[in-house]
Assembly symmetry: C2
Homo-oligomer: 409 residues x 2
């Protein structure tokens, strides 16, 4: 019954019944060497769920996938994804191109046209080069396999300015049957060259209804993808998809024993959290991953507001880059989150070293907390002492490299 | 009756009946050459109003000044301000030190102790060096004068990482009597070395009640100081103060003729807006001032949300730095303000050059809009075509210099 987690696994090919193929079709106009298209295909119809950007401006593939899930979430056969072009801010043609990608993928593998979900990431405001995309889909379809090497190629094909592929797998056994959950992702705060986008594809051979799957994915996302921040810019294309084939013969939904449901949720949570952590750790030109931990808030919403104010403050992020334990900026950002913070009750820690207790600075600890911020990963913890709620945000520093990387196309 | 506006005036010494003095008292431990303390003193009791940071974490001087204004807004005799230390996050001792500054100032010029307002800006989390501050107040008091040169020294004494003093004056004549409004300010997004703070002191010889003055100042601030952003970090110390001596013999409050009230408001608006514009233009290591103009929103609040999302987006600000007309990032940030934007109605302009109309990109205009973003000042305009409301935010770019300047103490 215990859970086995594998970091940096080959990814989706770890799940029995799923095949992947990847191709380079030169969407970026920079040659065919770079992988930029991938297909994920299930051997049998899957139940699927998605979590999408809440941006008012949604890319064509986001709108398309949402429509497909609303109509046919129980007969999904796969995902077609590309990097290099986000197909966002492309008006009606963008919607047509997203639908055409799904149609091309379905035709290539012999499934109905409403069986594919579509994801794009990259430059925005430009039309997809559909001739190239069609060729990429054809090549990817011809390569479909469960070989681990193709799993890695697939994880690479969705990357933009990420420096490495992101994948992991979790596996557990229930009554002699093995259930696998595996995922791949690409990062946030990355620009190719125009837009930050986070994509994650998670597949499993467990069985569940669309509603059950959506609940499980929402819960996992809230604890992972929604708790990370690189630069605070939410994309037009952010998408997390979960496909469940049921091939393992293990139903994990509402009628399943509580222990099994918990096991599946834990597997999904671990996969999503590991992918989210990889996204922050590979944030664009970052040098630090900082866990912003807010405790003792009146509500989770208050704790989240404070964590995001800190995690998105230019002054705070610049000081992390400089390894400067600048707790004053933490207190300032916490204050302008305007949750009704009581400064006289505020404790601030770097890892376990107190810098402020009850609103009073402890300058004598400075040598110790200066040590903490030298590390590539550390925590800043604010105890508000107002209640029991908490929130944790994984954030990154802001570097001169980020600004220079993003200053032009 | 016409209004005469003078940019870069000597500042507060332009107003008859106000004297200023400034001193260097080495609050930064870097020698006495740098001015870091100033007194502003009125020859007769003033009515005063203030607008303060809404940060939950308020500095000692902010709390002190708010208390004084609540109790004795009709008998204010002046302001004592310092740079180099914000007296913020300094617990009970900070409150005592702020009160002591007011007491020292009052004693030095022979007024009651509740006659002075107090402002501090600079490093946070450290106690004020009160012996030095006391000496600075004594020296400043001895220098009190209406000489223009001292006015300039006073404007310099409140600066932190600003590169130049900020001052302006407006003057009008009503029934043969001259009314003057003059102000000085220090900038936002500036760190000395720990905290962004905006301070502005405005003096006039017009007469008004505390409530009238507060209304006038609130209105002027909402159109000026509250419409600028350098880095989105709100300080613990932000303060705008307005002192009205009545010495000109012109009452500008509710009982005044509408034309006179309008004239005074216009003078105050011009002074506040010019100071706010100087603050953005001298934002830390910035290279561009960009007017973010949102039109056709359903409400002013919606327009403001979108303007702030754009003005505080790291990706947008980085692209301004790179003179990259990246309208996709504008659309993305506008979308994640989540006001119910309709992408198919959205128009985007650089100055007057359309980049997007009705959600459709106009790539043929790219050479023209690339030209616009070369300038040190330009506008990005989003027409939402959903209503009649609008908001304008003056914002700055984000540079590698900002990050490197702020990465350590």
């Amino acid at each position: 019954m215990s859970l086995e987690f594998t970091n940096d696994s080959p990814g989706l090919t770890d799940v029995p019944g799923f095949r992947v193929g990847a191709a380079g079709c030169d969407i970026r106009n920079k040659g065919l060497d770079r992988l930029d298209l991938t297909l994920v295909v299930a051997d049998r119809p899957c139940v699927a769920a998605g979590v999408f950007t809440t941006n008012d401006v949604k890319a064509g593939p986001v709108r398309y996938s949402q429509t497909v899930l609303a109509a046919s979430a129980e007969r999904i056969r796969g995902i077609v994804g590309n990097s290099g072009n986000a197909n966002a801010c492309t008006a009606a043609q963008g919607d047509q191109d997203a639908a055409a990608m799904a149609q091309l993928a379905a035709t290539a593998v012999g499934f109905p046209s409403d069986a594919f979900l579509v994801c794009s990431t990259g430059r925005i405001g430009e039309l997809l080069p559909m001739t190239k995309v069609a060729e990429g889909i054809k090549v990817s379809a011809a390569r479909l396999t469960r070989d681990a090497a193709e799993g890695v190629r697939s994880a690479n094909a969705i990357l933009t300015s990420d420096t490495r592929p992101k994948s992991c797998s979790a596996r557990f056994t229930w009554e002699g049957k093995v259930v696998t959950v595996a995922g791949i992702a690409k990062g946030a705060g990355m620009i190719e060259p125009n837009m930050a986008t986070m994509l994650a594809f998670v597949c499993t051979d467990a069985a569940a209804s669309p509603a059950e799957l959506k609940t499980a994915l929402k819960s996992a996302s809230d604890q992972s993808f929604n708790c990370v921040s690189v630069d605070g810019d939410m994309s037009t294309n952010d998408t997390v998809l979960l496909l469940a084939s049921g091939a393992a013969g293990v139903a994990v939904g509402a009628s399943a024993p509580a222990a099994l449901r918990a096991l599946f949720q834990e597997a999904l949570d671990q996969v999503c959290f590991a992918l989210a952590e990889k996204i922050v750790g590979d944030g664009e030109k970052i040098t630090k991953v900082v866990s912003v931990e807010i405790e003792g808030a009146r509500s989770r919403a208050d704790a989240e507001k404070i964590a995001r104010a800190i995690g998105n403050s230019l002054l705070v992020k610049s000081s992390w880059f400089g390894e400067d334990p600048n707790w004053g900026r933490l207190a300032d950002a916490a204050g302008y989150a305007r949750t009704g913070l009581d400064e006289t009750k505020l404790d601030i820690f770097y890892d376990d070293v107190p810098a402020v207790l009850g609103g009073r600075p402890l300058p004598e600890n400075k040598p110790r907390w200066k040590q903490v911020v030298q590390a590539a990963r550390f925590a800043v913890r604010l105890k508000l002492n107002l209640g029991d709620a908490k929130f944790r945000l994984l954030a990154a520093d802001l570097t001169d490299g980020y600004v220079n990387y993003n200053k032009s196309e």
